[in-house]
Symmetry: C2
Amino acid sequence: MAKQYMSMRNLRFLLNEVFKVEELTKQPIYQDHSKETFDMMLDTAKQISDTLLHPIYEEMDKNKPELGDNIIHVHPQVRAIMKEFGDGGWIAAPEDYEHGGQKMPAVIYNSCNFIFHSANTAAASYPGLTTGAADLILTYGSDELKDAYLSKMYAGEWQGTMALTEPHAGSSLGDITTSAEPQEDGTYLIKGQKIFISAGDHDGVENVIHLMLAKIPGGPPGTKGISLFVVPKKRIENGELVPNDLQTAGFEAKMGMKGCPIAHLIMGDKGDCKGWLVGEPHNGIRYMFQMMNGARLSVGMMSTGLASAAYYASLEYAHERPQGRKVNVRDMTTSPSLIIEYADVKRMLLFQKSIVEGCLSFVTQCAYYADMIKASEGEEREKYQLLLDLLTPIAKSYPAEMSVQSTSAGVQVLGGAGYCADFPLQQFFRDTRINPIYEGTTGIQAMDLLGRKVPAKMGKSLMLYAAEINETIGQAKANDAIKPYAEKLEAVLQKFSETTMKLMGLAQSQDPEVFLADASLYLETAGIMSIAWQWLKQAVVVQEKLADTPQGEELNFYQGKMAALKYFYNYELPKTRGLIERLNSDDRLTLELDKAYLV
Amino acid sequence: MAKQYMSMRNLRFLLNEVFKVEELTKQPIYQDHSKETFDMMLDTAKQISDTLLHPIYEEMDKNKPELGDNIIHVHPQVRAIMKEFGDGGWIAAPEDYEHGGQKMPAVIYNSCNFIFHSANTAAASYPGLTTGAADLILTYGSDELKDAYLSKMYAGEWQGTMALTEPHAGSSLGDITTSAEPQEDGTYLIKGQKIFISAGDHDGVENVIHLMLAKIPGGPPGTKGISLFVVPKKRIENGELVPNDLQTAGFEAKMGMKGCPIAHLIMGDKGDCKGWLVGEPHNGIRYMFQMMNGARLSVGMMSTGLASAAYYASLEYAHERPQGRKVNVRDMTTSPSLIIEYADVKRMLLFQKSIVEGCLSFVTQCAYYADMIKASEGEEREKYQLLLDLLTPIAKSYPAEMSVQSTSAGVQVLGGAGYCADFPLQQFFRDTRINPIYEGTTGIQAMDLLGRKVPAKMGKSLMLYAAEINETIGQAKANDAIKPYAEKLEAVLQKFSETTMKLMGLAQSQDPEVFLADASLYLETAGIMSIAWQWLKQAVVVQEKLADTPQGEELNFYQGKMAALKYFYNYELPKTRGLIERLNSDDRLTLELDKAYLV
């Protein structure tokens, strides 16, 4: 097991030096916080991760869950983890005080979760999912629902889930068939099946509360006819928990994230599965998508966490592993070099570092916007909302896709050892492969970005985003050491804007399939540009710090930042050239392709 | 289990229409063959794959090998597979008649192995490794060694292995410490350890014959002091097999290729492990590398096989899976579309198809050069040898790296189902991740290409290669339908040549580390260009065929070829732009990076 899985120094750099989160405490809603309370939260998260989560990361993969009598038996420590997260107030942390929360700003909550997920992403999923589910009840549920469920969920005694997917309906929620028949007592009889429900059943808690999408018969077709329900595994009757006719048919064996099972649930087999409506009928998708937006940012953060753990594991190996000699060494009797001395190994390590620290910065940026939405009003609030809406599909997908490549580079640094179970690299690689699928595939996110977010409000979001990037470019141009990078980013932003204009022109003149055909490439381009922006933003701060002539480890830290910036601008940013070339092509290959040709 | 794992139609297209392998039978050494014998070999390979290999591909992954009493118990069918491959003459197939071989040309042998590996790469590894090991004995061994080992190995009764890697020496063979002490009887006492030995021990055979690298004490340091030995698990004494003090300490658990264990061997623990020298002392690396070159081409072929199986599995799913509706469909009461109707899914399928058929064509090209080396003399022979030497690191690495991405695209087509064990996609993805590591990592191949193959003989190899590409470009320019692609490739070849000149200039004026720093990017660029060449070469033939107005499935086949060509030129070839930009940069980031900055 690698010793390090994330860098607290880097996290503090982002929070304190780049995003200056202390400023948030000047906002009325965060006024009870201070740098000290933030630090305490981060330190506690690290300590929990070190003692409770990280030691069993590999064990949870090797000792897979097992299905018992209508219950999934998971790692025995899951119970202790849920209790610790409940007792420590982590599950309710983002909520208001009156619900047992700490009003923790999203930047801090996200940072703590980054620590948890880099330590053990499967374990951290249990409380994380519970927060998301409870938040839906808190935001849209009746007082009765809040009273019945929230305290148990926040205490970590009951698990929360998101129950969306059905065997025939994954990406297409409009086609779900789980039905909710209204009863005279105001409840609904639920009937149907759900699959791929993360933490959908396990023996680490007393009960599982599903936030479930279902259709009330007679409603409109598609997503407009979907309602949201609380469907518990055990319902409360006369103060007792009794079975709610919700069977666990099993769970899917998968290649990674084995420590957190995805359950197959059967509701209402005996006609006795009760659900409670959350909010208004037929508004389920709207409610769920509010949470999904948060979940999408979480996927970006989780992906970055796995990339972080892989980076430090491969870095540690590269620092310790002697192998071969540099090309300019002819004397074979000399001692072998450490592999970290080789240019190609440094390249793979810099690649990982630039992805980890670039993506973490970007996800933190999005969390910061989420905080500013809560803290502001009117036009300012709209600005932050538009920015967050625009960047959410990017913050979900780019870290997810790059985490696969980044952990793969970690495997490659180790060579054959990276492929073997003695080292965790192969597990990071397997675990993170779900991230481009979770919460909407990359293709779905791409359609959301280019088809919905960019054209909305006449392109206002993208104009706001360009202004944000240009502000950083302006700051960076004032410093000769980083001016060339500012100019590179400016050129890419210019090309990206021109490409967007061309695509928006197509959107107006042709069938919507045309401008969306290469949406995935547009998303990838936006991702590279966004991370380049975050690196420039970090570099502006780094230059200020370097002017103070730091020494020793502090100097190394800031010089490492400059190296990662240079890596990203020299090796990753040029990838936009080929992407933009394609995005501007008038070839309609994939649209015109007869599927019979795919043989 | 997906029904199709490779396309016989495509294989025949490459062999008969593009490479016109029947022409080979005009060469004296292949004169006993005919199109009919080739077809029979291919059909037999397909039939064995359908009945013996493919049905247990997933089973061999799920029922992992187990270590018994100094022997690894593998899937019970491995014995039947070794017997079938022995009885059918597959293990000896490429060898001369007098050794029980069939003088099978490399293009055919490689094609048959492509069928085997796309059906079940773990299973196909057992006989394949035996061929490689036996070939070393045949080529360099004494008559006594040939008599003692070959017939049993060719019969599939004894397994052959390549035993190179040691715990402290993977990529750096010069540092191995396994020793071979000469004895009075002409044998050597072997002492040491080997790890990662594929099929290094198992109960599907009576004996395991290791072609092992070791050092005779007193020899020169580094690779020049390495000799090659036959070290059997059981040695022959008085016509009996007796233990040779070669213990199986265990095997590594790994994330894929689980059906073929990699053994950890301990030789000479009791001072009684005998080895027999192959060829001359201190020539082991030269001998081994001749076989390694063949093995590197095999990795390219195996990678392509896994990409093929993933392509057809995801294609089958895309043809059958209804999900969602196209963006221009507003009526949610209509039936869902098959996912193959979506542009983004078609893009992912075309990506896979272009990789599978492009890489198979390139590996076949290399095998064709190998055949022409055997069939020609003098300058012509030198030409083919230089071409094969130059292209071998590319043919190993590009398919290996792209197979990871291509199988990942296959996973993505299925979404959550792709991540689950009910479908084989996750297994293809796990299995193929070893290929960029096998037989020298991508970084090692890159150093071989740019540091050795390109500068050799004053760049003659690359000039010959450019002539080959230009010949295809010339043919393609004669046809208006594909002329634009010829021009695109010509432009990339021009840029690639200029970049090479610049790097060779650096090689002469600066420390060798400088021009080699981004060798991996050079290799990637060469890979993209090489596959683009093969697509253009195929397209020249496709255009001839389309002129004959084929109908039905034949028309679909050729139109599919054109679509994949267009995909590769529109989406993959533009990636060379960013790569070439970086390769021409004077920034020395990775060379100048202080490792202390990597924090």
